[in-house]
């Protein structure tokens, strides 16, 4: 259950988000007027090209100044901007319940919820449609895409009811996802990225022309491993336990973990999946900044 307070974005966070834009790498091709580049040309604000007049074109589309210079009819074409659909895919398996020892109240799930709220805010700013896909041990919980503030409230409600539970579900149970997420949609996966099945799913989605981005949410404990004494480490999803002396296994762990992250990054990059890491002890917009900062494309 995500704390309601973490879904309400602080004003300064909201202000910082205003500078960000969710931009898909591939231009979408949907109908309607939005803020995203589409492959359909036509009337619009952004100039795209001139083309020779063809019978049937509207007379008002002819560039009369160009006609005066060249004595030919040219039609001025603009890019049509269209809205996209942003899907938020949350990995709410049991590992999402992990928290830093320094801040036990802020679990991974809270951070994921806040990231989702940020993304919802961005989509709302851009007038995009957005929907929610929450995956836990119970299966897939889905909020169909929609517009506007009421849709945001629906998403928040679903986030609020989210409970971290179980492991990654079998592929059959995720079939509705394939029916809902259409090619060209932006799918923002938010999770720890530790489940192999999750990565495989993202790769499949990416290769099926979905715009996939992974926000890997990691705890500071996983990054720093600040354990000195003996501990009984437990994998929340498999229940596997391991007795280890923190100080003795730290170096080995940090090395292996860094290597695993590098390998994952390389793999995702090869699969055409943009990725950024959100640490639990950082503000959520830092990761979004890394993905969508500098006014543009990842």
């Amino acid at each position: 259950m995500v704390d309601a307070a973490s879904l309400i974005l602080a004003p300064e966070l909201r202000a910082r988000l205003r500078a960000l834009r969710l931009v898909p790498r591939q231009a979408g091709g949907r109908s309607g007027i939005g803020q995203h580049a589409s492959r359909s040309r036509g009337a619009g604000l952004e100039f795209a090209q001139y083309r020779a007049y063809e019978p049937g074109d509207e007379l008002r589309q002819i560039d009369w100044k160009l006609y005066a210079r060249s004595d030919r009819f040219f039609v001025r074409e603009s890019e049509r901007e269209s809205p996209i659909t942003v899907w938020l895919l949350l990995d709410a398996t049991a590992s999402a319940a992990q928290a830093d020892r320094a801040a036990p109240s802020r679990r991974r799930l809270e951070h994921m919820g806040q990231l989702a709220a940020c993304a919802v805010q961005l989509a709302l700013q851009q007038g995009d449609r957005f929907g929610l896909l929450a995956i836990s041990g119970d299966g897939l919980q889905l909020v169909p895409p929609g517009h506007g503030a009421r849709q945001r409230d629906r998403v928040h409600l679903q986030l609020h009811a989210l409970q971290p539970r179980g492991g990654w579900p079998a592929a059959e149970r995720l079939r509705p996802l394939w029916e809902r997420v259409r090619p060209g949609d932006l799918l923002l996966a938010i999770g720890d990225g530790f489940d192999e099945a999750c990565i495989v799913l993202l790769e499949q989605l990416a290769s099926a022309r979905r715009e996939v981005v992974l926000l890997q949410v990691l705890t500071a404990d996983e990054r720093d491993f600040p354990f000195d004494a003996g501990h009984r480490f437990r994998d929340p999803e498999t229940g596997e336990e391991l007795l280890g002396d923190g100080a003795a296994i730290r170096d080995d762990y940090l090395q292996r973990f860094a290597a695993a992250r590098a390998a994952l990054h390389a793999r995702l990059q090869a699969g055409g999946i943009a990725t950024a890491t959100a640490w639990l002890d950082q503000s959520p917009e830092v990761a979004l900044q890394a993905l969508y900062g500098h006014g543009g494309r990842p």
């Binding site: 992990q98 999803e237 336990e241």
Partner: protein, 374 residues
């Protein structure tokens, strides 16, 4: 510092108990959710480090047990006691309060049995002054100064000059000697039997006068017996009558002129060295034989001018000098074996320490932060 019951130190072994309990605790490893478990490799099991949490509490508990063990071992201080304030004793008969005046806060004591303080009434003197001083010397811890106030003509002296283990400040105070002490034992009284010859009567009267300066009591009439403490004189070779024999048996003294058995001890010898007075024990009394007879004409040894004194010394022993100048009798210091200081028990202080430690232990054990951790 010594231990009266060193076996009690075995209780120190109990200090192992909290140590063992502390070290043998199972360190509870609370399960810790860690999703990145697959990158952990625990080839090293957690080391069981010897770790002392709560070491102040542990220390206090160990100290508490150690203090209890030492308490069981009955420690006692044997070293020289801290120098006690000087003792001042005043012989009874002196005005102690006047002597003390206003000065001095240390208690003054009577030189009397049990050495009461001078605020109490003057005790009845039952022991002699030198004896009391020796007792006090033996009782006081070594190094305690001793001031003794004595009257100046010092009476009740014994034969030897006092020797004490410490130097004594000897303060004589001139005091007029009281009426002649009756200490000098009364000289014996000779009682003649009825029918003594005139020379014998004359000699006896002369001796009596020399002893007492008084006239001799009249001779015993008939078969009367001499009184208690008197020496009956039975002259002539006749044996003692029956009632005199019985009186002699019951502790009387009779002077006779019959020769004594050779084994009888000689009390007095004549100038030539031959025995003059011999003594024979009869029952509880004694039979005195005057060798050579009681007639002065017959026995020239009786004509010695110092005979009365010699005779008296022979009969009663040398009168001792019992009164003397106090300054002459100041005690001398002799290296006597120092009084063994009694071991002083410090159990009470240890018990207080134990209680204190217990209090600290309880306070530490129930400290709020510890309770919170539990």
């Amino acid at each position: 510092m010594s231990l009266l019951f060193p076996l009690g130190l075995l209780a120190l072994l109990s200090a192992l108990l909290p140590l063992l309990i502390h070290l043998a605790r199972r360190h509870p490893y609370t399960p810790l959710d860690f999703a990145a478990l697959r990158w952990l490799r625990a080839r090293v099991r957690p080391r069981q480090r010897i770790r002392f949490d709560d070491w102040p509490l542990l220390l206090v508990r160990l100290l508490l047990l150690a203090a209890l063990a030492v308490l069981l071992a009955h420690p006692a201080l044997t070293g020289p006691a801290p120098a006690a304030p000087a003792w001042t004793v005043v012989a009874p008969g002196l005005d102690a309060k006047a002597l003390r005046g206003k000065a001095g806060t240390t208690p003054w004591h009577w030189l009397a049995p049990a050495f009461p303080e001078i605020d109490q009434p003057v005790p009845v003197q039952t022991a002699t002054l030198p004896s009391l001083l020796r007792e006090l010397d033996a009782r006081l811890p070594a190094g305690t100064a001793l001031v003794v106030h004595v009257p100046d003509p010092l009476s009740d002296l014994d034969g030897q000059r006092l020797q004490l283990s410490r130097t004594v400040r000897w303060v004589p105070h001139a005091v007029p000697l009281r009426a002649a002490t009756p200490a000098a034992t009364a000289a014996p009284v000779l009682r003649l039997h009825d029918g003594a010859t005139a020379p014998v009567q004359r000699w006896a009267a002369a001796v009596q006068r020399a002893w007492h300066g008084q006239v001799m009591p009249p001779a015993l009439a008939g078969g009367a017996l001499p009184g208690a403490g008197e020496i009956g004189v039975w002259s002539g070779g006749k044996p003692l009558p029956g009632n005199w024999q019985r009186w002699l048996q019951q502790g009387g003294q009779v002077l006779v002129e019959t020769p004594a058995p050779a084994t009888a001890p000689v009390l007095l010898r004549a100038e030539g060295g031959e025995p003059l007075l011999q003594q024979q024990r009869v029952g509880r009394g004694r039979l005195l034989h005057l060798v050579g007879g009681l007639d002065v004409a017959v026995n020239p040894a009786l004509q010695r001018p110092d005979l009365p004194r010699q005779l008296r010394i022979a009969l009663q022993g040398e009168p001792r000098a019992r009164v003397g100048d106090a300054r002459d009798h100041a005690p001398t210091k002799a290296s006597r074996p120092a009084a063994r200081a009694e071991p002083r028990d410090i159990g009470v202080w240890l018990a207080v320490l134990v209680l204190l430690l217990f209090g600290v232990e309880r306070w530490l054990a129930s400290a709020p932060q510890r309770r919170r951790r539990a």
